[in-house]
Amino acid sequence: MPFVTADSQQSSYDVIVVGSGAAGGQSAYTLCMDGAKVLMLEAGRKYAPEAETPMFQTPDLAPLRAEGTPDKPFGFYDATVNGGWSVPGEPYVRASEDDAGRFDWWRARMLGGRTNHWGRISLRNGPYDFKPHTRDGLGFDWPIGYEDLAPYYDKVELLIGVYGSNEGLENTPNSPPGCLLPPPKPLVSDLLIAQRAKRLGVPVIPGHRAVLTQPLDFRGSPARLHPGNATAQRILAEDMRNRSACLWATSCGRGCAVRANYQSTTVHLPPALTTGNLDITTDAMVYEVTVGRDGRANGVSFVDRTSGKQRHAAARVVILAASALESVRILLNSKNARFPNGLANSSGKVGRYLMDTVGSALSGQIPLLESLPPLNEDAADGVQMYVPWWLYQEQRAGKLKFARGYHIEFGGGRRMPGFGTAAGMEWLTGGSYGAKFKQDARRYYGSFVGFAGRGEMIPNDRSFCEIDPKVKDKWGIPVLRIHWQWSEHELRQAAHMQKTFADIIGAMGGKLRDPAKTDGAKAIAHGGSIIHEVGGAIMGSDRAASVTNSWCQTWDVDNLFVTDGAVFASNADKNPTLTIMALAWRAADHILERMRRKEI
């Protein structure tokens, strides 16, 4: 009975995992495959991608041509359920409403969380990314290095399926043989960008995304992932066989009914459930980690959203994997006489050092790409190729006015026409209508390329969250108040992105509707809007200056772990999800070892 209600849960478990996304899914997978009895609690509803994903639905079949609304901000067909920039009845508070201090928080209330709709970009942090303070004196070093996490990056890539290539570039690690799937064929626009960017000294290489460009190696990978564990190997082999390779159509953001990309609900949870070791309760909103007289965690309290009642579940170990901000919120709300400032907060660092990714975007129109012949360019749904950060030497030599790097994601092509396809073209057409407008639409369709920078933010003292003293959600749970501020490093980096994009578009012979922004404050996207929020319970080697140790184990409570992005001590330009999964797998291995030794 894998899906259980609050009434049908076991009286106690080995481990409670709070959250079912990248961190929760990986934590539960690793634990269950090795025999631990796990209860997963998810605040949102049960979700079945195989049945619910609108794979080939076209915009004309949706309300409002599938355009985004406050109910579905990323469009009608986006996989997100009961989420977005706001969740009804579950507010959060911005300490500042001005643009510079604005923070937006994307949530999803569904099994699998945000992994159902994410971009699937799966980049490894490099060696520099774990020791940023050592390199430039800013921010914090991690208590681990690349070599500690590399074996887990290997495992995650083998398990979930990631396409990419090994280019041997600085701080852009190669994967061992057999880990990566072959990258997809580039689009015409990808090849043109690569050709012209190269003339500027900007490298363009295959992207890394969690999309199956070919079937997984169900014969070889299970033994590499679970040596000596025949049961786990058998379960995983069977599950890998049931995942289809990419169909080269439809948007990954809708989710994937044939399980050709990674989402927790199609990759982590099915084999974990097959073990029989996993119980999942959905609609279970955890608000507190409970602590026994010995000061150790003994379970969690949650609201059963179907009844509105407060319930409790017990376990030897508690893992928070609810997303960086939700995990922080639970810690801060877990106050008692012994932990008056919230649980695991003797350092005062819970909620501190929130980070997002620096984002800035620019698009252009490329005459060379006009009026191409019919081409099916659905491809892998974006980021067939990308630009890794390439100016390490210049940065080291002090030639840039910002300390950390960014990578560039780009896209174009003759993708499925929709609401915006022929919109806003007056700057090119002189305001045509009638027969001329139809000709213009044909001419310009597919001739636009867009660039988006994704840069490292350095943690600072002014970006943090705390419990708002007044506001509570509809369940009566106190909510977060979020403070946000960029530093000059991020603002200058965003301006540098804009100049780079304009230079590449220029090298392609392209046109800009609006000039590149030179003011970083105008170029940078709002905090939180890239949905890479991490930090708030950072790991470190000093218990006075961090919340967890290198095993994601809280310093103050030895059977309480945080395996989501909250533990990031820095936020490299690489998208965080792959690193979250690698950390979660490593932490789960550690928990299993400690449980075997009866230490927790």
Partner: protein, 217 residues
């Protein structure tokens, strides 16, 4: 998002829409609302909520009532077909349901739709007033030359005279709505030679001859 997510915004031609990719949350047209003199009251209605069924088809009018009058719908169709008439490759906008879409759009209970409702109904009123001033008739009753004469004055905001700027902003938005309604239909996709959204066993990439012609070998 990374989206952050896949970068959905690059698929639109609208270069000013920032990350997030959707007009409703990050409006590039927010200033248009201010200039409208006659915002029309919105009927009370519910949206589709945060958990609609995604795998079934929806028709305009099914989720919230359509609100345009018969005269407004007639004008909506005439103007949509001035913008996208039938030609040898595809039908006109009104022939593929764009009027129903525009009615659905301006009747929807969301802030951006409410804003567009003001723009569109204000624009319709302006067209009739202009037609009455110049020809003593409603816009819908003008001959093609009369209708085009008025549209020529407002089809490009950068060239419109100051008194017609608001009308030009209306025309720009209406053209976007018409094109959005049209190119998202099967006929519109076919017009643009879009051949995707079909499952494939492999992805061969662009043909060598095309890459050679573009100097991308």
């Amino acid at each position: 998002m990374d989206r952050r997510t896949t970068i959905k915004w690059v698929l639109t031609a609208s270069a000013a829409w920032p990350l997030g990719g959707n007009a409703q949350t990050h409006s590039a047209h927010a200033d248009s609302a201010r200039v409208e003199s006659a915002p029309a009251a919105m009927p009370a209605a519910q949206g589709y909520g945060t958990d609609p069924t995604l795998t079934r088809n929806y028709a305009p009018g099914e989720l919230w009532p359509l609100t345009l009058t018969a005269a407004q719908r007639r004008l909506a169709g005439i103007l949509a077909d001035i913008i996208i008439p039938a030609d040898d490759r595809s039908p006109s906008a009104s022939a593929v349901g764009v009027v129903e879409f525009i009615d659905e759009w301006v009747s929807a209970p969301y802030p951006a739709n409410s804003r567009d409702r003001g723009i569109v109904l204000g624009g319709f009123a302006w067209l009739d007033a202009e037609a009455a001033r110049r020809f003593g008739k409603k816009f819908s009753d003008l001959d093609t030359a009369g209708q085009h004469g008025i549209c020529d004055d407002i089809c490009d905001e950068s060239r419109a005279t100051v008194p017609r700027r608001t009308a030009a902003r209306f025309f720009s938005r209406y053209r976007d709505l018409t094109a959005g309604g049209f190119y998202s239909t099967p006929a519109g996709r076919k017009d643009l030679n879009y051949i995707g959204n079909v499952p494939r066993a492999g992805n061969d990439g662009p043909p060598a001859a095309l890459l050679k012609a573009l100097g991308l070998e």
